[in-house]
């Protein structure tokens, strides 16, 4: 197991270096700069600003300076928000995005796993078809449609829940959680159903039933352990995807998370913020993939080789 972890960590370094280099080259080759604005900046002012942010140095020097800073944990100041450092922006947005992702994954697991089990226990019946068709719909409906529909229904017509915000009013976390979690719930449902169907047909389940165990014990204690392997393998990438991909939901509900900063940074040519968040997201994705591999390996001995 330790060997697996070490091996994966060793490959992470060149991956991260490639991410920094490519992102650096891409942001600097994109047309337009951080100080372009509707009210044109005079050449003198532009020169002062470039000097202030070290943008007048040769590109390789900027690159090496940046890399040197990153190694020391300094991602530099944001160009868009001059009084804030990239680290501050990431640290402000991250807890919120993380909280949202955790709620969404819990919601997805709760809904998806139950629906998947139901489908696997009664395959090819209404208990199977209805949740699975709904799941298919859940995968297909993008959050950009689901979010506003939920807001209209529960926020405007029924007036049950706030239409946006995060932690400002009671219940304002519910709609974003559902919006972000639904697609993942649908995946979980289909993965659980597949995994469970496979396990439920195996001999040890038959033995468990023959011993006279209650159906609940058979399903939850015996079958679920094996049946959930695909779901667990999916959780790592899902968590990374939720963290990096919450932009749409954050925008719809006005949640001050990291996703919005990331995408806005690209539009604003906020070089340091784009680089900082790309590095940060790469680290997250690498760690979550590693984590889910480790969990999957500890559950299923076959994967340990």
């Amino acid at each position: 197991m330790i060997e697996l972890i070490l091996k994966r960590l060793a490959t992470a370094i060149p991956v991260l270096l490639a991410v920094v280099t490519l992102t650096f080259l891409m942001v600097h080759s994109a047309p337009g700069g951080p100080f372009d604005a509707e009210k044109a900046v005079t050449p003198e002012v532009l020169a002062k600003l470039n000097a202030k942010y070290n943008l007048d140095a040769p590109l390789w020097e900027q690159y090496s300076d940046y890399l040197f800073g990153v190694v020391q944990g300094d991602f530099g100041p944001s160009f868009r928000y001059p009084s804030r450092s990239v680290t501050e922006l990431i640290m402000t947005g991250l807890p919120i995005t993380f909280e949202l992702a955790v709620y969404a994954i819990l919601f997805a697991l709760m809904l998806g796993v139950s629906a998947g089990i139901l489908g696997a226990l009664k395959p090819n019946t209404a208990y199977d078809y209805v949740p699975m068709t709904t799941a298919m719909l859940g995968i297909c409906v993008p959050s950009i449609i689901l979010g506003p529909s939920l807001i209209l229904t529960f926020g405007i017509w029924l007036e049950w829940l706030p239409v946006g915000g995060w932690g400002d009013m009671p219940g304002d976390k519910i709609l974003p959680t559902i919006t972000l979690g639904t697609a993942y719930a649908a995946y979980c449902a289909r993965l659980t159903r597949g995994g469970m169907l496979e396990v439920l047909n195996q001999d040890f389940i038959r033995t468990a039933r023959a011993k006279g165990l209650s159906e609940f014990r058979v399903v939850v204690v015996h079958a679920l352990r094996g049946g959930l392997t695909p779901v667990i393998a999916f959780l790592g990438p899902a968590m990374a995807g939720l963290l990096a991909g919450s932009f749409v939901v954050e925008t719809i509900f006005g949640i001050p998370g990291l996703g919005r900063f990331y995408v806005e940074a690209a539009f604003n040519r906020d070089y340091t913020m784009i680089l900082g968040s790309s590095i940060f997201f790469s680290c997250l994705i690498i760690s979550f993939n590693l984590l889910s591999d480790v969990i999957a390996a500890s559950i299923n001995p076959k994967l340990r080789q």
Partner: protein, 534 residues
């Protein structure tokens, strides 16, 4: 077992059974809190660094200049300056500062604070983007461009703590209006120097707890991308007349979300309305939708360095082939009026020449005269930045030029920064543009088209035009000045390096409980005149 599973499934929805809650807007008349949609997250709160509209809304609460804007758009009202004298040649202004003007930490606001603030804004190494707001002051431009180093030569002096004397290069009759702009307001020297040097960008002085202002409100809280809260300042000289207790500025750049928040009672006022809803809301919420005139022009730029747009006849033909009424009635549909001049017409002051016309026949003749017979005109690209509104308008214009003149136009839709950089390096033929005046004077439009100005971006240069603007600057009478500017604008509309399309309107939703929010051309709503009633 089934029941257990069903319960399990239903669990997430049990959360949903929370009852309806009282909306912030419905209780605002009790706590006097104004909830405002404010566009994007403010970049910073340093008046010498920021350039955006959202920042200007916040700075209006936190800092006060020598004068303040009139809530109904009339001449400026006394602010920190209680009174002022203007010399007969219009070149010297002496301001008498009020004894009761205080910073939020209790310090007196003095004339020295203004000198320091203006010096800071003009300091070249700060890299302020708005130094030209003070270029009418003697030697201000030279100091800002580094040709003189001694700030004592710049025409702003504190005679004593309460007297500020400003000397101008030209009798700029609009000068008082500039002093209401946030860039010319004072900053608190000890605070700035506690957190950095005079030319430090992005120091921590603008954070809650650090910010010392002199406006009717103080900075209470600033949650990034969430809300910025200002609270009534007890030390403000006119605090007894300030009716709001707090203002919550929400950075909401998504118009649909802002719209939903308004409808759910979470906002009193929005920054805009999704364009597709304007017509519906005019019927459904006639008391809430506001379509106010605005001091801005939507226009197209020609690249006059490039063939065939270097030919005046071509530019005139393209203008004549444009049915502006059709555009505002059928395309933009936000109550805008067709623009027949660059400066938006103001019946109360400057009324520009409005000679542009829609005449496709004449357009064809002009094109022929320019040497382009039927179908020989080279196809070109119309550049705009990604936005549904710009796209629709570009399509309409494409259609009009195609039908009326047989010209083939391709559309180039690019991201904002690409669009800006292509314009600044002249890599375009025709591009969309818009301009909102910073102050209420035709100069804030016409000056832009002077040879070599940063926002000219058309390559157009006309010495007669430039000279008329110089003459106008020297004039002490407002009417004479307007006369000269009128002549200049006539040249601009004859030459047409730019093609005015429509005059902007400010479209927003406003809750009926908000009082004192008056329409005015600069969309300025000083909060000390705003209140919330039941």
């Amino acid at each position: 077992m089934k029941l257990r599973f069903l319960l399990f499934l239903a669990l997430p929805f049990i959360f949903l059974s929370c009852g309806p809650s009282e909306s912030p807007v419905s209780r605002a008349h009790l706590d006097s809190i104004l909830y405002m949609g404010n566009g994007t997250e403010p970049q910073d709160l340093d008046p010498h660094v920021v350039t955006g509209v959202p920042e200007s809304h916040i700075l209006m609460a936190l800092l006060e200049g020598l004068v303040i804007r009139h809530p109904e758009g009339l001449d400026p009202l006394p602010g920190v300056a209680e009174s002022w004298d203007i010399s007969s040649d219009g070149l010297t202004y002496s301001f008498n500062l009020r004894n009761t003007a205080l910073w939020s930490n209790g310090d007196f606001v003095t004339a020295h604070d203004f000198v320091y603030a203006w010096r800071r804004m003009l300091t070249p190494s700060l890299g302020s983007k708005y130094p030209d707001m003070l270029y009418d002051v003697v030697n201000a431009e030279k100091f800002n461009k580094g040709t003189i180093k001694d700030f004592d030569l710049v025409g702003v002096k504190a005679l004593d703590d309460k007297t500020l004397v400003v000397s101008l290069e030209n009798p700029a009759t609009y000068f008082l209006g500039l002093l209401a702009h946030y860039t010319t307001r004072p900053v608190h020297q000890p605070t700035i120097e506690k957190f950095g040097e005079i030319d430090t960008i992005g120091s921590q002085w603008t954070r809650p707890g650090n910010f010392i202002g002199n406006g009717p409100f103080t900075l209470e809280d600033w949650k990034l991308n969430k809300v910025l809260i200002v609270k009534k300042s007890p030390s403000y000289w006119d605090a007894k007349n300030v009716k709001l207790n707090e203002i919550h500025f929400f950075p909401i750049d998504n118009t649909s979300r802002e719209d939903l928040m308004f409808r759910a009672g979470q906002l009193h006022v929005t920054s805009t309305i999704p364009p597709e809803k304007v017509e519906v809301y005019r019927k459904e919420y006639p008391d809430n939708i506001h379509i106010d005139p605005y001091y801005g022009t939507y226009y197209y730029r020609f690249n006059t360095d490039k063939e065939p747009f270097d030919n005046k006849l071509v530019r005139q033909a393209l203008s004549l082939a444009l049915d502006r009424r059709q555009i505002v009635d059928k395309v933009s549909k936000g109550g805008q009026s067709p623009a027949f001049s660059f400066t938006p017409p103001d019946p109360n002051s400057y009324y520009p020449p409005t000679t542009l016309d829609f005449d496709p026949e004449k357009a064809k003749e002009l094109l022929k005269e320019a040497g382009y017979e039927d179908g020989t005109f080279p196809s070109f690209e119309l550049l705009y930045n990604t936005s549904e509104g710009h796209q629709k308008l570009a399509q309409a214009v494409q259609q009009m030029w195609s039908v009326n003149l047989g010209i083939n136009v391709t559309l180039a839709n690019t991201d904002w920064k690409v669009y800006l950089s292509r314009q600044s390096v002249g890599d375009f033929s025709v591009s969309r543009a818009g301009w909102i005046g910073d102050y209420h004077d035709p100069k804030s439009f016409l000056d832009m088209m002077v040879t070599g100005r940063g926002n000219n971006q058309t390559g157009w240069s006309n010495s007669e035009y430039d000279n008329l603007l110089i003459e106008a600057a020297k004039s002490t009478s407002r009417l004479d000045r307007y006369g000269l500017l009128y002549e200049a604008e006539k040249i601009l509309m004859e030459e047409l390096p730019i093609l005015p399309v429509y005059t902007y309107t400010r479209i927003y939703m406003l809750h009926e409980s908000v009082k004192g929010w008056n329409p005015n051309l600069l969309d300025s709503h000083p909060y000390q005149f705003v209140s919330i009633e039941q």
